[in-house]
């Protein structure tokens, strides 16, 4: 029977695009009908529509689909394992004594926002390159400090992302593909360097982290024969109600539980070990950076696949939001203005106090957790509007702009479907749906720190520029 004749005999099931009244009339006739939440692709911009059309030419589509399949398979199959801790100068590629890594796409000292300047000057003082914050600022402006994005050194850094030579780093190895990713340790409290604070208490804590916490973790991991399988632990944490960007209660517990047997075997005093455990329990955030390194490790394995339209990086420097896409290899950033984060704030702070969106932590959403996995973390639905339904709809909505569900990391509340994985530039531009990011809010001025948390979307310009570039690149 021909398809048209099948239509005559089967029950009509309509997808309605555009005029809602037609949907209503179909309802009245008891027909099955689904009304699309449709907006003009590419915001109606003919240049973008032409680029979409070009990429959707059957000969091109097949190539893209194959490339995207390869990219998401690499993300899913990556097995990031925590294998150790060490100082940045010893492990991070390209690290020097006068290099400071920062979050987001490249930025110069004069353009940095308050929190990032605060973090940079604090790090200079911490490294002993200047005696105080004022002189640190002069040094930063002098050109003698090399600024470079974390992402361009296999690293990720939360918030300002400021990483200097003697800071201790997570070392995460991709057991499947062999690449390595690094990230800083959590400073825990709210008044911290990564949020732009830099007073004596902040520097003091960094020194303790360098001299006690870091070495204990380094020595502990040396005792771990196989490392710690982070992907397995991430899956567990999600099942326990973390989305592993803003809620890290379960993940932190699991991580310290895994580290403890080794920590107690190190040659440090009981007092020092006690300090470490107290530090870890002082904030739920301890495992936050760990998941970021996991995500970075998996996504780097998927970067640079010819013809792929999958996003491999989303990161912000407080001024610009930048993305990288798999199909355009290397460090090519597509940027747009950083946005304001909307969400609950600590008492006494108002939205106008907040600095613009900042940090490499959006790597978690790029991987498919954080805002993308909101449905698994009902405890923090206040970040996204207050109801569990809102949280679920954030996750299901992200499935519209991603390529696949990651079967290795699942969400119990949604019948164990996998996290939405592999943001596809084409789908973002086609639907106008922006990735949703759960994130913290830093005060706009240097020296204050975290003042709240909430959600933010990337600027669409970054995705539009990437689409245009891909349409040039993919033939």
């Amino acid at each position: 029977m021909s398809k048209i004749n099948e239509l005559f005999t089967n029950k009509l099931n309509v997808i309605n695009v555009g005029i809602e009244n037609f949907r209503d009339d179909l309802f009245k006739q008891n027909a099955s009908v689904t009304h699309l939440d449709w907006t003009p692709p590419g915001r109606g911009n003919p240049e973008l529509i032409a680029a979409l059309d070009k990429l959707e030419d059957p000969s091109v589509t097949d190539k893209i689909e194959a490339a995207n399949k390869a990219a998401v398979e690499r993300i899913i199959n990556s097995q990031p394992v925590l294998i150790g801790f060490d100082q940045a100068i010893n492990v991070v590629p390209g690290m020097t004594k006068n290099t400071i890594l920062h979050a987001g796409p490249p930025i110069t000292w004069d353009k940095m926002n308050g929190p990032m300047k605060g973090a940079v000057t604090g790090a200079i003082v911490f490294e002993g390159l200047a005696p105080n914050i004022e002189e640190a600022a002069e040094l930063a402006a002098s050109g003698e400090i090399i600024f470079s994005p974390c992402h361009e050194h296999n690293c990720v850094g939360s918030m300002a992302g400021v990483t200097s030579a003697s800071m201790f780093m997570h070392i995460v190895e991709n057991r499947t593909y062999g690449n390595i990713a690094y990230t800083n340790l959590s400073e825990q409290m709210s008044k911290i360097l990564r949020m732009g604070a830099n007073d004596e208490s902040v520097i003091h804590r960094l020194i303790w982290m360098r001299d006690v916490l870091g070495p204990i973790l380094r020595d502990a991991m040396k005792l771990s024969p196989n490392g710690i399988d982070l992907r397995l632990m991430l899956s567990q944490a999600l099942h326990m109600g973390d989305e592993c960007h803003n809620r890290n209660v379960a993940g932190t517990t699991l991580l310290i539980q895994a580290l403890t047997p080794y920590i107690i075997q190190t040659n440090f005093t009981v007092e020092q070990k006690k300090e470490v455990f107290e530090f870890v329990s002082s904030s739920d955030y301890f495992s936050g950076p760990t998941w970021m390194a996991l995500c970075k490790c998996a996504l780097d394995a998927a970067h640079g696949i010819e013809n792929s339209t999958i996003v491999t990086t989303m990161a912000r420097n407080g001024v610009e939001f930048g993305i990288r896409v798999s199909g355009i290899a290397g460090n090519v950033w597509f940027t747009g203005p950083a946005q304001q984060v909307i969400g609950p704030m600590f008492a006494g702070y108002k939205p106008e106090d907040s600095g613009l969106d900042i940090g490499d932590s959006a790597i978690t959403e790029t991987y498919g957790i954080g805002g993308f996995a909101m449905a698994t973390a009902p405890a923090i639905v206040s970040l996204v509007g207050g109801t569990v339904d809102d949280a679920i709809s954030y996750t299901t909505k992200m499935a519209e702009i991603t390529t696949i569900e990651n079967p290795n990391v699942t969400i119990p509340m949604l019948d164990f479907i996998g996290i939405p994985t592999g943001i596809d530039i084409q789908k973002v531009i086609q639907t106008g749906i922006m990735p949703i990011i759960n994130t913290a809010i830093a005060h706009k001025d240097a020296g204050i720190g975290m003042i709240g948390a909430g959600i933010v979307n990337p600027p669409i310009e970054a995705f539009e520029k990437a689409l245009l570039a891909l349409s040039e690149e993919i033939k």
């Binding site: 029977m1 021909s2 398809k3 048209i4 004749n5 099948e6 239509l7 005559f8 005999t9 089967n10 029950k11 009509l12 099931n13 309509v14 997808i15 309605n16 695009v17 555009g18 005029i19 809602e20 009244n21 037609f22 009339d25 179909l26 309802f27 009245k28 006739q29 027909a31 099955s32 689904t34 009304h35 699309l36 939440d37 449709w38 907006t39 003009p40 692709p41 915001r43 109606g44 911009n45 003919p46 529509i49 979409l52 059309d53 709809s393 299901t396 909505k397 499935a399 519209e400 789908k427 086609q430 639907t431 106008g432 749906i433 669409i460």
Partner: protein
């Protein structure tokens, strides 16, 4: 007076919803004037024309929603924005309750709903081909309501549909009935054994309604869009439709509805009719009887005739049918009432084919018949706002719908024109259609009623009889209550015609002089 503007970036609302929102916004008490529109060039032109242009509106993009409010004070403007925002969000709530999962693209919807088999697409013409292509690529049959789609796109889409064995109804297709479900603009009619392929919307509606009235019923009504039988498109969808209906066990008789096809396409269609195992009734407005008969088809000159032939071929007993013959005594009566100078018919139509049919009926007796849809340039109205001799206007044509909804939804333009025509002492008859059914106005006769009553009164005071003929296209199953519509029409003193065909014939006969 204060004018304030609110631009909501990258917010899309379809034009029909915007119309109803605008209407509601203008009903807000404190609002002097409100415009809610997408920032398209066309809308900006409208805004400029009403003197509400601001730099903010000027810089709005096509994808931005523009809200303009004129009110007595700044404070009242703010209040109006609040009320308008409520209207915008209210709509969202009601839609949320009806469907659980929200999909943004056809592809994701198809992934989520594997049983989906048809897409109705009614978005701006510049985006429509892309969406239609996506639907076809996802193996959906398509009804493309959008107009302003290029003929190149139409050919490409229909060729793709043909390769995939899918229906590609449209572009500019507003009427279809598939599996007894009316799509977009169609009437509620009985299920039966007659299948229709129609290149014209209201023409197809008329045939289904007449078949229903004769006691027959419909299997499928496949719309093709008006350009399908052009030289360029080559009748791809009409040929596919005939083939599908021929293979459909439930269909006994096939009816084709169209304006005259391009000669090469007509040949193809007739060749297919010749091979078709089922009887085919052909109503091509102004078509040629000989060719159809030669091909073994059943020729119909007019709509009711087409429906009648179809039901008879489908097995109806002719002796039991009420054919609703013309009311000849009424013709005599009206002729006597009209002054000698009342020579002309003015046809004011919301349905294009209904207009065409009435015009062709008039053209059989008069050679001075003008229209905005005349194919002969000589008889095309120079200025569509000014009538000349016998004039038939299709208010659904582009000149009248630029930036406005179709007259089947918004009767305002036609009401204005009616008042204008009624004042013309050379006019004997004004003939109008009122289309009921899904998608149409809730009370089309009611909207025109005050104008009819007043016009007839004024004419009487001036010592002339103004004859108004109304034809109501609908069935007793349509939600508008056809009985009530007819009663309203009769109460105004207008004459009710029982079919499109009869409306045309009555109008013509009323003004024939000296026979």
């Amino acid at each position: 007076m204060t004018v304030q503007v609110l631009v909501k970036p990258n917010t899309y609302i379809d034009s029909v919803s915007l119309m109803s929102l605008s209407t509601k916004a203008n009903q807000i008490e404190i609002v002097e004037q409100a415009i809610i529109a997408m920032g398209t060039e066309m809308n900006k032109e409208v805004i400029r024309n009403v003197g509400l242009m601001t730099p903010e509106v000027e810089s709005a993009k096509t994808s931005d929603l523009v809200i303009i409010v004129k009110a007595a004070s700044e404070e009242l403007c703010e209040g109006a924005f609040e009320s308008i925002n409520e209207l915008l969000t209210k709509k969202k709530d009601s839609s949320k309750g009806k469907s659980e999962v929200k999909y943004s693209t056809i592809t994701s919807a198809v992934n989520g709903i594997p049983e989906a088999n048809l897409a109705i697409i009614a978005v701006n013409g510049s985006y429509a081909p892309r969406e239609a292509r996506k639907a076809l690529e996802n193996n959906l049959h398509v009804m493309l309501f959008s107009d302003n789609v290029s003929i190149e796109d139409e050919i490409q889409l229909k060729t793709l549909a043909q390769e995939k064995g899918l229906l590609m109804m449209g572009p500019d297709c507003g009427t279809a009935i598939i599996g007894n479900v009316a799509l977009c603009f169609a009437n509620a009619v009985r299920k039966g054994n007659i299948g229709i392929v129609g290149a014209s919307g209201t023409g197809s509606q008329e045939v289904t309604v007449r078949i229903h009235e004769f006691g027959g019923g419909i299997t499928q009504l496949i719309g093709t869009g008006g350009r399908d039988l052009s030289e360029e498109v080559g009748g791809i969808m009409m040929l596919a439709g005939i083939k599908a209906l021929e293979e459909d066990d439930a269909t006994k008789v096939i009816v084709l509805v169209s304006k005259p096809p391009a000669p090469s396409v007509e040949e193809k269609v007739l060749a297919q009719i010749k091979q078709c195992k089922k009887p085919v009734v052909v109503w091509f407005v102004g078509g040629n009887e000989e060719k159809v008969t030669q091909a073994g088809g059943h020729f119909a000159k007019m709509s009711k005739e087409a429906a009648l032939k179809a039901v008879l071929l489908a097995g109806a007993d002719e002796s039991k049918l009420n054919k609703r013959a013309l009311n000849l005594p009424l013709i005599e009566e009206v002729r006597a009432k009209l002054n000698p100078e009342q020579k002309y018919i003015r046809g004011l139509f919301s349905g294009g084919t209904l207009c065409d049919e009435a015009m062709h009926i008039a053209m059989e007796k008069f050679d001075n018949v003008y229209s905005n849809i005349q194919r002969e340039p000589e008889y095309r109205l120079k200025d569509v706002r000014v009538s000349q001799d016998h004039t038939f206007i299709d208010f659904g044509d582009d000149q009248f719908t630029q930036g406005k909804p179709h007259p089947m939804i918004d009767p305002s333009t036609r009401i204005e024109r009616f008042i204008q025509e009624a004042k013309d002492p050379s006019v004997g008859v004004i003939v109008m259609d009122f289309v009921l059914g899904f998608g149409a106005h809730e009370d089309p006769v009611g909207a025109m009623l005050p104008a009819i009553i007043e016009a007839k009164q004024v004419a009487e005071e001036e010592g002339r009889h103004l004859e108004v003929i109304g034809y109501i296209l609908g069935t007793e199953l349509d939600s508008q209550n056809i009985e009530g519509q007819i009663n309203k029409l009769l109460a105004s003193g207008a004459t009710h015609a029982s079919s499109s065909q009869n409306a045309g014939l009555l109008a013509r006969e009323f003004v024939v002089k000296g026979e």
